[in-house]
């Protein structure tokens, strides 16, 4: 199956249609005791992540226009199509190489808390820069949806983004939105639902070879990691990070974190 879910499917049945399902959306705010799926919201700073968060949960997390505004993790919930979703808004970061506290928070969450879907909010006027983070996230998870936000701004700046092409290249659904004006949210919900329920299977883009030398070096390491942690989505990436001397992944492995946390949905991060 080739995955190009950004292309609207045949709307044969009402239940398949985002507009219909919008009526099934119940914003729960923070009243969330149990949930069927956990969704992480990641993205660069200033891409309107908090706005997407608010549009989905009905919460009104304050949205300011400065990078690093969301320093803590915000959580909320909604019910869509009779399924309970818990939404976690991660701090905005440029990268997941864990060079600062907020990057570590975001990275550890995606990697260890294993959200059912990671929604990556992207500034469609700065695609190249944002894709850097998208690619890094796609390295550590198999279940992601790209939310191509700020389409209104792109239009104003006369930028056209071919979301089908993007979806094909990234191997995950890509949904154009203008969250500030609530545009594209029904489609985003549908895509999240599809990935969460497994109706759509992602084939995320993975970085090819770095150099023949590196490839040779890490091959045995990958095999070893795979046998120790069979559930890991991308052993190669973990190997690359280990090779890069990434301390937090080292620590996680030392605590057997990669294996243990497979089963732990609630994950408390020690911040600071």
């Amino acid at each position: 199956m080739t995955v190009n879910t950004a292309v609207p499917k045949m709307y044969g049945r009402c239940e398949d249609c985002g507009i219909y399902n919008m009526a099934n959306l119940k914003k729960l705010g923070i009243n969330m005791d149990k949930w069927d799926y956990m969704i992480a919201l990641a993205g660069n700073p200033n891409t309107g992540k908090s706005t997407v968060f608010n549009a989905l949960t009905g919460l009104r997390q304050h949205t300011g226009n400065w990078p690093g505004k969301t320093v803590t993790r915000a959580e909320g919930g909604f019910i869509y199509n009779r399924r309970g979703y818990k939404l976690v808004d991660l701090p905005g970061t440029y990268s997941l190489m864990a060079t600062s506290l907020d990057e570590e928070v975001a990275r550890n969450f995606v990697l260890f808390a294993k959200p059912d879907v990671t929604v990556i909010v992207v500034d469609s006027t700065r695609l190249e820069r944002n894709l850097n983070l998208v690619l890094q996230i796609l390295e550590i998870t198999d279940r992601a949806v790209v939310c191509l936000n700020l389409m209104d701004e792109a239009k104003r700046k006369q930028i056209i983004v071919d979301e089908r092409r993007l979806a094909r290249d990234l191997g995950v659904p890509v949904i154009p939105t203008s969250a500030r004006y609530n545009q594209g949210i029904p489609e985003l919900l549908e895509a999240v639902h599809d990935v969460a329920t497994g109706r759509v299977v992602c084939r995320p883009h993975r970085v090819k070879s770095i150099s023949a030398k590196v490839d040779n070096i890490i091959k045995p390491l990958i095999t070893q990691i795979k046998s120790a942690f069979p559930n890991l989505p991308n052993a190669r990436w973990v190997a690359l990070r280990l090779l890069d001397g990434d301390m937090s992944i080292m620590n996680a492995i030392r605590d057997d974190g990669l294996g243990e946390l497979n089963h732990a949905p609630a994950f408390n991060l020690a911040v600071a």
Partner: protein, 471 residues
């Protein structure tokens, strides 16, 4: 466990084998893919417009000539609109809650024969304190917050950080400290949490300790009220509003100067170190969604802060009523405290009433003025007609307040020093708790708590001393 140890051992051995360029290569291959994918997906319709609104505006707001004046102008405008705009609704709320409902409650208590101390505790303590907080606090907050949020949503704050960076650098502080400081103008606890954007622990501590010098919303009503009553009154009515606003801006600026000086002091003593590098993104300006911003900031910020004030004011009101009405011999506890603190108060250009108020109001800065007023009624309780009984907050307009203050022997010095002391005292209990949570250290929490209050005493003492020498 063996397996993981094995992996780690192997990995660290391999890590030594590869060269430093590995990370560069990894990042480069990611970016190369990102560029390729983006190029394939993105196209432009027609020419990119030559006139770039963002850049043109940026050239002005960060210009050598206009950058700083514009910044001052904007903040003065915000304060001025707050001062001017808050008067009328404040008076209205006071009329409803204090002049109208309060007597009604009293007569109702009389009708059902409520015991005097129950009605005193509930109506003159709990209810009045809450009513005061609402009428003094709500209007300025409801005006200030939306305006500040509009500026924030528009994208102006990073430009302020851009302009101020050099000064912060010279103080040995992190460039992003200006952002956490600005959040502190909203609420110090929020500002302290915002310091997480600073990676370096040393500079983050400096930012946390100095955040209290950013005048938080709980303290503006005090500033604005005192400035309006005492400083605005020095000039003809036409200028009163703008002069009051300017004096509040002056105090806020003084706070910034102090926060820089203290940062400098810390980075040259107990928190020695080099200023670390940082990058600051200047995001695109976004037209704020006006009504939505107004609505959100009213509901989320204003009401939340107001609710907190009420939660703290209600019990504080009861405490004040109690200390004003429990007597030892013929004299109430409050009077003992006031008399005891009067000499210290005099030394720093304040008085015992203000100091007692600051003790009662540790939980929340918001209730200082209501507390002062309640206590004043006590110390000048023979000032016929105002309020009834000890510890009752009198029912009054600004004029009555002024009469009250002058009867309490308040002078311009008291006003100026109260404004200074309101800037320079311990953080509120929420902020202290947040500092402890963020630093995890009693030592740094104690430093952050006691440093400002010591500075407050020293600076107020010096002002009072020089004032009395000159006057």
């Amino acid at each position: 466990m063996n397996k993981t140890d094995d992996i780690l051992r192997k990995a660290s051995k391999l890590h030594e084998q590869i060269d430093d360029e590995f990370h560069d290569q990894l990042a480069e291959s990611l970016y190369a893919d990102a560029t390729r994918i983006a190029d394939r997906a993105v196209s432009y319709t027609g020419e990119k417009p030559r006139f770039d609104f963002d850049r043109s505006l940026d050239r002005i707001v960060t210009s050598r000539i206009w950058g700083f004046p514009l910044m001052l102008l904007l903040f003065t405008l915000v304060f001025w609109l707050t001062v001017e705009g808050a008067n009328y609704p404040s008076a209205m709320l006071a009329f409803v809650f204090i002049d109208t409902i309060h007597p009604v409650l009293h007569s109702w208590a009389n009708t059902i024969g409520m015991t005097w101390w129950v009605s005193g505790l509930l109506i003159d303590g709990l209810y009045l304190a809450t009513a005061w907080v609402i009428s003094v606090m709500l209007p300025p907050m409801a005006i200030f917050f939306p305006m500040f949020t509009l500026l924030e949503d528009f994208g102006y704050l990073p430009r302020v950080a851009f302009n101020l960076d050099n000064i912060f650098k010279k103080a040995g502080a992190h460039g992003k400290q200006s952002l956490s400081m600005m959040m502190g103008f909203g609420c110090n606890a929020a500002g302290i949490i915002a310091t997480r954007i600073i990676d370096s622990p040393r500079e983050r501590l400096i930012a946390i300790i100095t955040n209290n010098f950013a005048l938080c919303n709980g303290r503006w009503p005090t500033q604005i009220l005192i400035a309006t009553l005492f400083i605005g009154a020095l000039v003809p009515p036409f200028w009163a509003g703008i002069i009051s606003a300017l004096s509040v801006v002056g105090i806020a600026l003084f706070g910034i100067v102090l926060s820089l000086l203290v940062s400098w002091g810390l980075s040259n003593s107990i928190l020695k170190g080099e200023a670390s590098t940082f990058s600051l993104e200047l995001p695109s300006y976004r037209p704020p969604r006006f009504w939505q911003t107004i609505y959100t900031s009213l509901i989320d910020r204003t009401l939340i802060v107001l609710w907190r004030a009420i939660v703290f004011a209600a019990p504080a009101g009861m405490v004040i009523w109690l200390i004003a009405n429990i007597t030892i011999g013929e004299i109430s506890i409050a009077e003992y405290m006031v008399h005891f603190l009067n000499p210290i108060g005099w030394l720093i250009g304040l008085n015992g009433v203000i100091l007692v108020a600051y003790i009662v109001a540790i939980p929340a800065n918001e209730i200082i003025i209501p507390t002062v007023l309640m206590l004043m009624v006590l110390t000048v309780k023979n000032a016929g007609g105002m309020g009834s009984g000890a510890g009752v907050m009198f029912e009054g307009s600004e004029n009555e307040m002024m009469t009250m203050f002058s009867m309490g022997d308040w002078t311009l010095l008291t006003a100026v020093n109260l404004m200074l002391f309101s800037l320079l005292h311990n953080p509120c209990s929420t902020a202290i708790y947040t500092i402890y949570k963020e630093t995890g250290s009693i030592k740094w929490t104690a430093i952050s708590t006691f440093l400002p209050i010591i500075m407050g005493f020293v600076i107020c003492f010096m002002v009072a001393f020089i004032w009395r020498l000159v006057a």
